[in-house]
C-alpha cells in the first residue's frame, strides 16, 4: 500500500536527519581561516595564479625557430 511506502520513507528521513543533527560543527571563523590559510600556503605554487613562463608552458604552440 502506498501509505506503508510513505511511512517507510518518512522513517528513513527521520533516521537520516538524526544522523545529520548529531554531528559536531566547528565555528565558521575557524573553518574560513583554515581555508584562507590553505590558499595562502599553496598560492605560490598555483600556476594559474602566478602565471606559467613561456619556456615552461607545455600547451604553448610550438613554432619553428629561426636561427639567425
Amino acid at each position: 500500500m502506498s501509505t506503508n511506502n510513505n511511512i517507510a520513507q518518512a522513517r528513513k528521513l527521520v533516521e537520516q536527519l538524526r544522523i545529520e543533527a548529531g554531528i559536531e560543527r566547528i565555528k565558521v571563523s575557524k573553518a574560513a581561516a583554515d581555508l584562507m590559510s590553505y590558499c595562502e600556503q599553496h598560492a605560490r605554487n598555483d600556476p594559474l595564479l602566478v602565471g606559467v613562463p613561456t619556456s615552461e608552458n607545455p600547451f604553448k604552440d610550438k613554432k619553428p625557430c629561426i636561427i639567425l
Binding site: 511511512i7 518518512a10 574560513a32 581561516a33 584562507m36 600556476p47
Partner: protein, 338 residues
C-alpha cells in the same frame, strides 16, 4: 494517520535542530575575514590550444592523472582521447549509444568510462591495440549523469534515478548504493583522501557520503534549483557547487554550512560546470551563456572571464598539476587556457 503526523513532527524538529546548530557556529562570514586578504591578480588567461575533432556537442571532459592526456565525450557518438601537448587525437572510442552525458578516465590511464541516456556506464580499455569494451554496468533505472574511477577496479556513478553507486569492475556488479537524494543526481566528486564523495542533485541539495559504508553523512542546502556541478576544494574540507539558480556556493564540511556565495545580479545563466585551480583560490565556472567566469574563491569577486566558445560551456577541468584549464562546449570544441 497517527504515525505519519508523529514522523513529520519529528522530522521538522530535527531540521530546526540542524538549523540551530549551524547558526550557533555562524560567528562570522568568509567575506568579512577575506577583506584583509590581498586581491587575487586580475587573471588573464590565453587560449593556448583549440582541440578540434568532435562533430557535435561536447558533454564531458576529464583530464588524465598524467596531466597530459584527456578524454572528451560528444553526442557525435565518440569518446576522443587527446594528447593536449600536441593537440593530437590519440584514440577514438566509438560509443554504442550516442546520447552520452559524461566521461571519465581511470587514474592509471588504462580505462575510460562513458554513459548517458542509455542508463549504463560503459567501461573501455584503451591500452590494447584498439579500444575494447570491458564492462557494461547496467543497473541504474535512470540516465547516467556522471562517473569517477577510484582505481582500475572500482567506479562511482551518479544517476537520474536519484541514486549514486559504487561498482566492482571485476564482477560488473553494484557494491554500494547511495540512496537519499529525492531528485536526479547530476554530478559527483571524490575527496582527495578517497574516503568520501559528494553528490549534487535536482533536489537542490549536495550530500557527503562515506564511500565504504554507503551512509550519507551531511546534507547541504541553500540552492534553489538543480545542482549541475560540484568539486572538492583541494584541502578536502570544503566543496563548491554550481547550480541552475545561476550561483555557486562554497560549503565548509566541518562548519556544516554555506560559507561563501558567488553571484552577480547581471548573471542570469545557469552554472553547468566547475573546477578549481590547484591552490583553490580560483574557481572556474562554465555557464549557459557561453562564457566561463573566474571567481576569487575567498573574496567572492569575479576576477576574469574565458570567452571564445560559440555555445554553452558544458564541462571544465584543471589537471592535477594545475598548469592549465580546459573548457568543453556545445560548439564541439575544447579549449585549453593558461
Amino acid at each position: 494517520m497517527g504515525e505519519m503526523d508523529t514522523l513529520k513532527k519529528e522530522a521538522d524538529g530535527l531540521k530546526a535542530q540542524i538549523e540551530a546548530g549551524r547558526k550557533a557556529v555562524n560567528d562570522t562570514t568568509m567575506a568579512t575575514l577575506a577583506s584583509g586578504v590581498a586581491a587575487a591578480p586580475r587573471v588573464q588567461l590565453k587560449n593556448r590550444k583549440t582541440l578540434k575533432g568532435h562533430l557535435a556537442k561536447i558533454y564531458g571532459l576529464h583530464w588524465s592523472a598524467d596531466n597530459r592526456h584527456m578524454v572528451s565525450a560528444s553526442q557525435d557518438g565518440k569518446l576522443l582521447i587527446w594528447d593536449t601537448y600536441t593537440g593530437n587525437k590519440v584514440y577514438a572510442v566509438p560509443l554504442k549509444s550516442s546520447w552520452v552525458m559524461s566521461c571519465s578516465m581511470a587514474p592509471s590511464g588504462n580505462l575510460v568510462a562513458s554513459g548517458g541516456l542509455d542508463n549504463m556506464c560503459t567501461i573501455a580499455n584503451i591500452k590494447g591495440a584498439s579500444p575494447k569494451t570491458l564492462r557494461e554496468l547496467d543497473a541504474h533505472e535512470g540516465y547516467l549523469s556522471h562517473s569517477r574511477f577510484l582505481n582500475d577496479s572500482e567506479i562511482l556513478t551518479a544517476s537520474g534515478d536519484t541514486t549514486c553507486c559504487l561498482w566492482d569492475l571485476e564482477t560488473g556488479k553494484q557494491k554500494v548504493i547511495y540512496k537519499s537524494h529525492v531528485g536526479d543526481c547530476m554530478c559527483l566528486a571524490v575527496s582527495p583522501d578517497q574516503n568520501t564523495f559528494i553528490s549534487g542533485a535536482c533536489d537542490s541539495s549536495a550530500k557527503l557520503w562515506d564511500i565504504r559504508d554507503g551512509g550519507c553523512k551531511q546534507t547541504f542546502i541553500g540552492h534553489t534549483s538543480d545542482i549541475n556541478a560540484i568539486a572538492f576544494y583541494p584541502s578536502g574540507t570544503a566543496v563548491i557547487t554550481g547550480s541552475d539558480d545561476c550561483t555557486l556556493k562554497m560549503y565548509d564540511l566541518r562548519a556544516d554550512q554555506e560559507v561563501n556565495g558567488y553571484q552577480d545580479a547581471a548573471l542570469n545563466a545557469g552554472v553547468t560546470s566547475v573546477s578549481l585551480s590547484s591552490s583553490g583560490r580560483l574557481i572556474f565556472a562554465g555557464y549557459d551563456n557561453f562564457n566561463c567566469n573566474i571567481w576569487d574563491s575567498l573574496k567572492a569577486e569575479k576576477v576574469g572571464v574565458l570567452s571564445g566558445h560559440d555555445n554553452r560551456v558544458s564541462c571544465i577541468g584543471v589537471p592535477d598539476d594545475g598548469l592549465g584549464v580546459c573548457t568543453g562546449s556545445w560548439d564541439s570544441f575544447l579549449k585549453i587556457w593558461n
